[in-house]
Symmetry: C2
Subunit: 331 residues, 2 copies
């Protein structure tokens, strides 16, 4: 078995070089890649690591694992207003890795490189450890001084989220808990939807330019809507007031809400959404809505920024139902 598995140089040639289509990558036949930045652009750099059975299931399709590892990084870039350009891939293969697995993993990378317009610049593969670890460094570009930060929200801003919230967390729960669908009366389509949203995030790359044009602050929702709202509140030294009734949800989540408001609120804050949470000045909300629509990205206004010092207030019908302050980390 192990004898069938190629050496590192062979691995690079066979699996990774075809993904390094940029002239600066030189087909990975060098120690490093060379990239000429475009004048007038800043670079945005991010790194997310994923480990088997922590951030994905080891039994997931290798194509999906690869795409998720890339996409969680693209989601960070998009939230900063940056378009992806290239990435470096660190792969810590488990001792029982197979050629077939790696082939399918690279098929997933290739598909997403094409879908999102970025290339492999380099990386490293080691074979060790008891479980697969993936480390992606993604680099994007944004017009100079236009990167969107967490710390720019101001009192009076409108709070928006893209897409729907809670699906990823529901998908994870559905995989971990038998009888999940039946408990909330989910039909097959609902279940398929939430499982898919957990397996394969949809980074809002299309919203990058809209954010750098119009948003005061933004981040992607990965830790959970409330925890991430708290990050913005802390960094910007403001309060965020979110109306739970305004948070956009799928029909699957609506059914869970009707069956158990408590479980529903937990899922809203559960994370793994990879949607965008943005604070937009009131005077720009019209332009923001229009530009997001033109980019094909649904966005929904869910609250407002007020003077304060790092509190997130959750409301329902205008009434405060919970307040998150101090050392709050996860809902």
């Amino acid at each position: 078995m192990a004898g069938d598995r190629p050496h590192e140089f062979e691995l690079i040639k066979r699996f990774f070089a075809p993904l390094a289509t940029d002239s600066g990558s030189l087909g990975l036949a060098d120690d490093a890649a060379v990239f000429t930045p475009r004048p007038g652009y800043d670079l945005v750099l991010t790194k997310d690591m994923l480990a088997a059975d922590v951030h994905f299931f080891a039994v997931d399709p290798p194509e999906a694992i690869a795409r998720k590892a890339l996409r969680v990084n693209l989601s960070d870039l998009a939230a900063k207003g940056a378009r992806p350009r290239g990435y470096l891939l660190g792969l810590g293969l488990a001792v029982d890795w197979t050629v077939d697995w790696l082939e399918r993993f690279c098929t997933g990378l290739k598909a997403d490189q094409a879908a999102y317009g970025l290339v492999l610049w380099g990386g490293d593969t080691i074979k060790s450890g008891d479980r697969l670890q993936i480390s992606v460094t993604a680099i994007g570009e944004v017009p100079q001084a236009k990167a969107v930060r967490r710390n720019g929200a101001r009192a009076g801003d409108a709070i928006y989220v893209s897409g729907t919230i809670g699906d990823g967390a529901a998908g994870l729960k559905a995989r971990l808990e038998s009888g999940f669908a039946g408990r909330y009366g989910l039909i097959d389509e609902d279940l398929a939807h939430i499982l898919d949203r957990y397996l394969l995030p949809r980074p809002r790359v299309e919203l990058a330019g809209v954010l750098s044009d119009h948003a005061h602050a933004a981040m992607d929702v990965s830790d959970g809507l409330f925890a991430d709202a708290k990050h913005i509140a802390d960094a910007s030294e403001v309060d965020l007031r979110i109306d739970l009734d305004l948070v956009p949800v799928s029909s699957a989540l609506a059914k869970i809400r009707d069956a158990s408001p408590e479980d529903f609120t937990g899922l809203l804050g559960g994370g793994d959404d990879y949607e965008i949470l943005a604070c937009v000045p009131e005077t720009s909300t019209g332009a923001f809505d229009a530009a997001a629509g033109a980019a094909g990205c649904p966005v929904t206004r869910i609250g407002e920024v007020t003077r304060g010092s790092g509190k997130v207030e959750l409301q329902r019908g205008g009434v405060a139902v919970q307040s998150l302050s101090g050392g709050f980390q996860h809902f």
Copy 2:
């Protein structure tokens, strides 16, 4: 025990934020770092992964592990003619990690950031797996179109190496084999020297500008002198002729040579040197020598590039003693 260990946000604040001294890193209080490239410079990007008990010993001092993880990447940058600017750190902590270990690890990072003039831009930490894995993405800059590649060597070029070769491989052997020092008559100072060279590479950052000014091709010697010469021969479609008697060695290696020429040759090709192998046009050798001297980096001419198609010929006193061609990977 586990209860004493801080959460991820606390980890960032306590250990990593003090290393992110660049304004673009925003103290790591954001999803991503922002970097404004200097006009007229290309970026060079590299990633090396290291795993405990594969690339270093788990029992090594944490400061040294951190510095080695950084330095093997800085060595790649230097070989391309690039000066380091920043890095992203992926840390896959083993389940039994301790706060004390991480504190010392970060002390090592801090020391080398100061020594080599780069900053932490971002990263990610996960806690999983049976052994520590470290993934560093380092980014440097080089004047536009001046990056030094593997594929630029031409017939007639002189071949140089920096420093001395074989010490790192000898240091590794000395740790693995009891009685190593006695076998070759090494004194305490010899042993300390080779052990140190294995533990802590000295990337030739000072040679970066000299290489981008004068070298046709370069790479760092990590796989081993002969394997890395083969990489240049293959990429440049030339032959490299190296005189083993000219390869510079420490007094420790000279003693090993006198005791066992065979063991000596094995160590010369053993890797872990993190010295520079460079091909310099004959007309520039004087300027290259002078510039390397001015930069405080010893360089030694060890051979020449000839017409060919990817062969490395090892000579001794002008006579070929071994030829490496075809699918050769490690000596």
